[in-house]
Assembly symmetry: C2
Homo-oligomer: 173 residues x 2
Amino acid sequence: MSIDATTQLNDVDLAAVGGLVEAIQADPAKAHTTWAAHVNWKGGFASEAKIRSFEPTQSDEPAGLGGGDTAPNPVEQLLGALGNCLAVGYAANATVAGLKLDDVRIDLKGDVDLTVFLGLGEGHAGFDAIDAQVTLVSDAPREELEALHAKVLASSPVGHTLQSAVPVNISLA
Amino acid sequence: MSIDATTQLNDVDLAAVGGLVEAIQADPAKAHTTWAAHVNWKGGFASEAKIRSFEPTQSDEPAGLGGGDTAPNPVEQLLGALGNCLAVGYAANATVAGLKLDDVRIDLKGDVDLTVFLGLGEGHAGFDAIDAQVTLVSDAPREELEALHAKVLASSPVGHTLQSAVPVNISLA
């Protein structure tokens, strides 16, 4: 990412991103970041995730799954996280490329076979596959939007986390 | 999961879960569920995820990454989704086993190397690994809590999605 402007194209603060890039180029250890969340169970299938100083994000299951249906459930939250990550990717890479985006919409869906979650079988309890349909509204030529799309696919933290087998260590205190 | 009670242990609606289990046992195709989210970019690195009829979930990046710092970012949302999914797993499996849980807390963290996201290199842009530390407060014997823990690890939809290489198809309309 080559950044040498303080433009606010797409409302993106390129100067801040450029400062981070320069800091990492000077000291690659600065690229290592750690993120955290703290989840508290609220009874039933409801819980909330506390992240930094933000209001906790609520979670629940639909009534058909035994929940109180008060909030999106965890697999829906995961789809949302992917879409939000892609949105950042389009905004960042479009701005670096000097492309103005008028709108970005991402429609995500995925199938889960509940057999394993419900204890009716063993194996993979997660998404079989995830599909995201991206709509970019922009006056930029189609080939520039396709190049942007390729860059986003190559650099999405949540996308790569889902596409890869990431070590997940869950330990009981 | 064998369910034959209408107990409200742990505030879990076991009757609803039991009804779903029976429906799937009668017609395994009912185990196939589809979930969706719809993300809209809001300018800069801010976006929101619309899920069913719930209020949209807000997303942004910290100022150091060029965002407006108005909401958790997508990789934090992903950690929250994992923790919320595990919470459902402990509540469901404890209730089926007749264990009363007094509290469940899950502290999650994970490292992301920003090199790929920032376009300073190629490769894996996602979490290198994710750690979740689970605290179960319960009068149940330790071995029963460990058996519960093992069941949750074997059946977590978000956990398995992260631990597996899931096909993610992202297409440009």
